[in-house]
Amino acid sequence: MTEAILIMLTLGGVCGAVLSIASKVFYVYEDPRIAQIEYYTAGANCGGCGYAGCSAAAVAVINGKASPNVCVVGDAESAASIAEIMGLDAGSVESAISYNTCKGGERKEEKFSYIGVATCKAASSLYGGKNVCGVGCIGMGDCVKACNFDAIKIGEETIPVIDSNKCVGCGACVKACPKNILSVKTMSERLLEFNNIDGKLAPCSQTCPAEINIPKYISQIIKGDYQGAVNTIRERNPLLLSCGRVCPHPCETYCRRGIVDDSVSINQLKRFVADYEMNSGKRFPITCAPDTGEKVAVIGGGPAGLSCAYFLRRLGHSVTIFEAMPTLGGIIKYGIPEYRLPKKVLDWEIEGIVNLGIEVKTDTKLGRDVDLQSLFASDFKAVFLGIGAWNDYALGIDGENLKGSWKGINFLSSVANGRKITIKEKKAAVVGGGNSAIDCVRTLVRKGAKEVYIVYRRTRKEMPANEVEIIAAEHEGIKFVFLAAPTKVIGNKNGEITHLEYLTMELGEPDASGRRRPVPIEGSETTLEIDMLITAIGQSPDISFIDKDSDLKELKTTRWKTIDNDPLILQANLPYIFTAGDCATGPSLVVDAIGGGRRAARSIHLYLTQAEEEESENKIEPVENALYKKHIPESIFETLEGVVKKPRVTMPELPVEERIKTMDEVDLVISEKEALTEADRCLDCCRICYNKETTETQA
């Protein structure tokens, strides 16, 4: 007994001593993080990560060659722990799974029969593969073979189907695919993804300024996955309720179905799912990447600012919105009348965005309440300017400032703010042909104006306002005065407006914009009897703050008083300033501002995350091969075979008699059944393939 204890004591002691001395004598410095990271890997030495064992993988993480989620077996927890050790941007820790972006499958057409090595790589190296579509799936299943987790199979339509339960997002399939139809992206990467000229994109998606994946959400609607559809839209557009109401949907112009009959009512479908969420009584959760600790100031709480703040927040940055007005919303709050976009709806939507953890400072104006100095002092690293365009252009004619004369935006926001304006029984004229002009006239009608004119210097065909809006205005009894250029406002001695004098025009040669330039007819002066005049001929940003802020002296502007920026990366000449929305582009669509906000968010994200590495170079790389505001020529068809005509769902709206009395919402949401019918009209287009409808399947 004693012997045993003694022997073991000696043995243990000797071994312990030898080891501890040896560890001192033979000490070699090794990054302590290697051991720590290895501790968190699964320890199975499975090789799934592509490194020779867990220890090698740990070294790769330390050297920055692998990301914290290198271990494909380990769960999110271990990845988070590793990221913590590395002190890395934890944004990349989010779990990712593989997505198939090609919808070709069986409907794709082939240009030849292929004999030979049955792998996608081999097939694609001969003339890009047998498909007519140069970018689509080849369908020989290289991805299936590459997957170590049995998560991919070639589905019935001969395109890969991914089992999201088994996929670990290792990316082996992405590497195997010669056509890049698979993508493994984290949420952050997906949020920052931009349409690409090599993309598998339907014409509608190419057109949408916010780059929403339209076919995807429509097919989700068909499947009844409304939440999925909402999430799909939210990856690109946080303001889906608003856009569903006010977006002029340029996407529908390019809808292939429109070649045969009417385009799919894409925006209605968006509105349908957006309203579905709102009416469902709960908010679908929105996930955000872990906090990065970087602070960004967003100046302006309009669509661009909200969009930018939303994406930055989802990328994990801390965002503060500074809004000059008492509430957020900007132009869509103050410039779009209640009957088009009820304030209740907008507030609900903005609340959802702010709830992600965005700090809001209202009644705070740049140049008045804050300046760059104070922002930098509060640790803001980048500034987004989304201040909109709030200065109405003046007509520049006599009598413009008489009593009863308004500026468009000013008028609309006054109405929105509930200021008392006497409109009842007034005769009003609105100068301009854009959407704000129409908004003004329709507001006037609802506020009880007796007669409402719209005075526009070209013809109806050239009116930039949305067609539906014009039609609605016509229905509501607006009188249109075309080819009229106001020359003078005539007032009485009280300084009140009595008449508007204008010249009649005729159309001349087309100008640079392709519209025929109006030429005044000499001596055709006519007067119109009015007592209220609203000029809505366009706006420019209010950039008065530049002069008030010494730090902003250098900020370049354009001759339209917009802030000059790189049109692709939206960085101003001061590297920490990014702009988007109307203040950068001049008055434009809401959805343009939203898309701009997202692009700015990407740039800011890169600016913040790259800044440490390359202090000297603040230039951000533009998105490679971006399809910004372009179309892929081969995807634009002129004829379409195999499509059976089906009528478009008509949008329900309030009857004219009712709607002109109140500011209630005019356009109503379509029913679920109608939404499904409409969604079913979608041809589920990809770049060049689409679902052919045969009469047989209809029967």
Partner: protein
Amino acid sequence: MAKSIAYEFGKGLWKEIPPFRLVLGLCPVLAVTTSLQNGVGMGLATTFVLVCSNILVSMLRKVIPSKVRIACFIIIIATFVTVVELLMQAYAYTLYLQLGIFIPLIVVNCLVLGRAEAFAYKNPIIHSLSDGLGMGIGFTLSLGALGAVREIIGSGELLGYSVFGSSFKPFTFLIEAPGAFVCLGLMLAIMNLASKK
């Protein structure tokens, strides 16, 4: 964070059943599974060591410095292995003879050390206990299954009783060393096939 105790126990029985899923501790698996009895005996011995060492490691995990943790684990495991060895000599001598050198070699069974390192050192006692128990039982089941297959086909008997009658000519290949490898390999494949569905 911590998963349920039932989960820790259950995973050893199917999801991570050693040595089929966690390919650890192969040597005894191959060597002693010439019969069901040997397989189960070895499995139980391993289970005992696994559970005890898991508990002790988990208890002492705050005390053991991480640099000498492997040495400490080994001492703990070796102690329990010797306990098993002595007990087996005293009360199950025939089995001890059959298992031979593989009893002391439990100490280097990667399964035991692996669980201590990968689980017990990071988890509380109860979890470690259920993990050890689950893994141990899973290991025993695997060994038993392999032993049964080899015994039935390789010698036509199970637990000493003739299965197919005397006219059966046993496929003795399975009892021999190469047979052990092949049999385990094929069983592994069947497990893979089964778990795919």
